[in-house]
Symmetry: C2
Subunit: 349 residues, 2 copies
Amino acid sequence: MRATLLYGDHDIRIEDVPDPVLSTGGDAIVRVVAACVCGSDLWGYRGVVPTRGPRRIGHEFVGVVESVGPDVERIAVGDFVIAPFYDCDMTCANCLNGVSTSCLHGGWWGADDRMGGFADGAQGQYVRVPHADGTLVATPGQPDPALVPGLLTLADVMGTGHHAALSAGVTEGSTVVVVGDGAVGLCAVLAAKRLGASRIVAMSRHAERQAVAREFGATDIVEERGAEGIARVKELFDGIGPDCVLECVGTTESMDQAIRSARPGGMVGYVGVPNGGSELPIRLMFGTNVGANGGVAPVRNYIEELLPEVLSGAIDPGRVFDLELPLEEVAEAYAAMDERRAIKVLLRP
Amino acid sequence: MRATLLYGDHDIRIEDVPDPVLSTGGDAIVRVVAACVCGSDLWGYRGVVPTRGPRRIGHEFVGVVESVGPDVERIAVGDFVIAPFYDCDMTCANCLNGVSTSCLHGGWWGADDRMGGFADGAQGQYVRVPHADGTLVATPGQPDPALVPGLLTLADVMGTGHHAALSAGVTEGSTVVVVGDGAVGLCAVLAAKRLGASRIVAMSRHAERQAVAREFGATDIVEERGAEGIARVKELFDGIGPDCVLECVGTTESMDQAIRSARPGGMVGYVGVPNGGSELPIRLMFGTNVGANGGVAPVRNYIEELLPEVLSGAIDPGRVFDLELPLEEVAEAYAAMDERRAIKVLLRP
């Protein structure tokens, strides 16, 4: 099959690799219908995270089940399925606690998995899925093709935006600021709106992203950054700041901005993959009672809740995809995201 | 009047200082009935926090109102009152948001206040209280003298323990670990019990403190610290860890222990004054979805809730006082706390 490999700094290729095979009784093989490029893929692509050797990449996909192992019970050949950006059994204590990203038996796409076989990346034609019964969620019947982008966001960005909002405690009437206008930040706007936020500020200086943010429910846009951005946000909320700040970038600067923007007693929900050795400034947080909660989003735990709304059209997170390319053009997909020519690129194998 | 001054490393004295006078219309003068020494006072006493010159100290007191300014409406001469460890107006946006420690017009005992006058420390005979209507809570009538220690804990340690528990999200059925067996840690045990925790582990290697922890509701004691303490705690909770960890010390080591003890998706409620430049390890927290919430406890916001239970005897946080001395012996009070001969010392002017 064809699959994507990251070789190093700005060197991404599509090559022939072995077809995956069922290697445990609980596996499924899924034919990828749509995959995409994540902002976090860019850390490796940009060389910020060094690549030791060519490695499979991609962790978001939806597709159709081609075959299943003998122990698989909930998923059947022919099902249209959504996979979260990791595999998990959904039966261990952590999965049952709602934290399937800490599954005691799970793993990550594109990494050697714990069952002995190679874990495929999602940016390829097929993926072997361990713990298929836990990992995959099947849609009721085959979905309308127009819904595929929205369904694909449940693999990561929509669930991750939702996690930011939940982690920050967004609820009916909350005031919210979203730091980051990538796909996750935009989905965080949508998630906050869905949870009943009364006012949502999107921090963005990019006209097209601002437009999507407004569609998703942003009531205000702030273009300033750093100290000016913080001052502007405070000003919008009576000089105090918002209840909740959703940090969807992961740099030291963005986290600092988030913590300094929240009102005393407020909460930062963070889902940006921490990059650049940022630590949280505990003395500042102690003095203002601003908390930080979040992490790698357990999106598998959210799929059942969000899926009906995507299927009904109540929410349309698929709007974050503004470029679609064949899988063979994956290098262009990375370049477009890297250069911020695209918010998020959908790939069709 | 007589009042305590910190001169420097292990140099604490009681001296004659000017009597306080009403200096704003909203002031009250309170005659101190009982004050005490706080673990955080020891940072200065031990020289960990340098002292630039002699300064008033002490921030926990209860007493009787001697006089009030013309604008005071809620508090009257003769009232028995509890003061939180700061002053606040209870009318600004932050106070109304439940974060009176961030009062827009408040200040701290023993610091120059913002109304122009000198702010007394609590370890003295009298205290001028700014914003008396906001700051002070009067008991209904004169309390039974036996209740004075319990009432005094509402000035800081009981409210602070409660804040740790609330910040960590302790609720009916939560599993809880408390790091720190000082007065705040012990009160955190009591607060967790009160909020319905199903299992509460107190980390302590001190027999008398363990006994108080058990009285307050601890179901288990862990004596180990560091990596061994973490392993023991994980073991007690199915290898996963507890839902909530209450960090009541404030050192780098104790915060690290707290974060590493919590289960994935768990929450650290922290109230130990951060000391030693500790920062929060965001990558670890991101990977495990362990959040950190808390800070300088807005105890004024909790007094009305906790007061009836102290008055009725439903809770007896006054048990944390295991030594009572006349104010004139304040130096011995500090030494006893410093050398851990006493959990907490009550001072009688």
